[in-house]
């Protein structure tokens, strides 16, 4: 942890960055985002198993961008997010410094190329456990799956915490806020919840980097990660495409291959 604090103090003192976004101790022993502006604050930085939130979400907030160049304590998911944001022209190269904790010390990654190299070194596919859980769903019958999701979505409040916590849901006016025409019903009834959750999953298809913040943010505990992981596995198995691996990559859903499988088309 002190390698991280030392690096943060050094960066802030040398003014290479104006803010260090990292994790600090939160209420009830949890970790939460902290925004270091002065070298002295670096002592508050921590990094342990409780630091799960994808801090890249703050790269898209105007109030944080206003602070100037940021250094971000980046988990592997946050690194993938930065690359995906780069692929979608949201962050420019050299506009941020990623601090990737590796064991006890810190790997500063200043350019997208550095981040790509670092990301490429590790395995980012769905874990065996995640794959198994998706497999469990595939084994369930259609009716059983429908009942499962119907119960889950019936508890959705449409508080949009899943959207707010997701670093790739940075659209200022989301389709949900479009009322001419009213694509997604505002009330949180069964139909509205189904349309909202299908739309959220589809709009993240080929983009989501599987950081899991949407599920962690959901106050009523709906396993939203399952929807995204299902699409991640489909996109990678059918189109051999993986998001968050390169700063320059076209999106699986806005490109095509002439030989995409079409066994279901008559």
């Amino acid at each position: 942890m002190n390698a991280l604090r030392e690096k943060a103090r050094e960066l802030l003192a040398a003014k290479t960055v104006q803010v260090v976004i990292g994790y600090g101790r939160g209420s009830g022993g949890s970790a939460r985002a902290v925004f270091m502006r002065a070298p002295a604050q670096a002592a508050e930085l921590i990094f342990d198993a409780t630091c799960l939130q994808n801090l890249a979400v703050y790269l898209m907030k105007p109030e944080v961008r206003k602070l100037g160049k940021a250094a971000l304590v980046a988990t592997p998911a946050a690194l993938r997010t930065i690359l995906q944001l780069a692929a979608e022209n949201q962050v420019a190269d050299n506009s941020l410094l990623a601090l990737a904790p590796v064991g006890e010390d810190i790997m500063p990654l200043a350019t997208f190329a550095a981040i790509e190299a670092h990301v490429a070194a590790a395995d980012h596919d769905l874990s065996a456990a995640e794959g198994a859980e998706l497999g469990k769903f595939a084994a369930m019958g259609l009716e059983e799956r429908r009942r499962f999701w119907e119960e889950q979505f019936s508890r959705c409040l449409k508080c949009y915490a899943c959207r707010a916590a997701c670093p790739l849901c940075y659209c200022t006016r989301c389709t949900v806020e479009c009322n001419q025409p009213q694509w997604i019903p505002v009330p949180a009834h069964d139909l509205g919840n189904l349309e909202w959750n299908v739309m959220r999953a589809m709009h993240l298809a080929g983009r989501c980097v599987n950081c899991g913040d949407c599920s962690r943010a959901c106050p009523v505990g709906i396993p939203l990660y399952l929807l995204n992981q299902k699409l991640i596995s489909d996109v990678s198995s059918v189109f051999q495409a993986r998001s968050g691996m390169a700063a320059r990559s076209d999106n699986a859903m806005s490109t095509f291959k002439p030989n995409d499988p079409e066994d279901f088309i008559r």
Binding site: F137, L142, E143, E144, R145, R146, R147, F148, W149, E150, T175, W183, L191, L194, E195, V198, M199, A201, M202, A205, G206, L227, K230, L231, D234, V235, V238, F239, A252, M253, S254, T255, F256, P258, D260, P261, E262, F264, I265, R266
Partner: protein
Amino acid sequence: MPDFEPKIVAFVCNWCTYAGADLTGTSRMKYSPQVSIIRFPCTGRIDFMLLLKAFASGADGIIVSGCHPNDCHYSSGNFHARRRWIIFRGLLDFLGIDVRRVQFSWYGRWGRSRATSACAAWA
């Protein structure tokens, strides 16, 4: 249930399929009046949200049809559409919605006899 009258919405592209539907008309081929057509410039224009909205508004079945690959008037609309269909179907099935309720197809210009077969698939 013999008296079940499925309401089927056909989202079609303006070139091969709409012209194909016209041709089906000029050659007086018969198909069920339960199928109604909505015209789009291309299958590329058909948004998955529309399919969702159609189901949410009470459609029992949906046909989405466009030009054969390589025949698209805009060269790649149908390819893009196909890719979205693949992912959308996967998601619907994952959510327990019967994907047989959405039929995707390429209809060439030579008539919509296959429309009748598609509708027959319902009844």
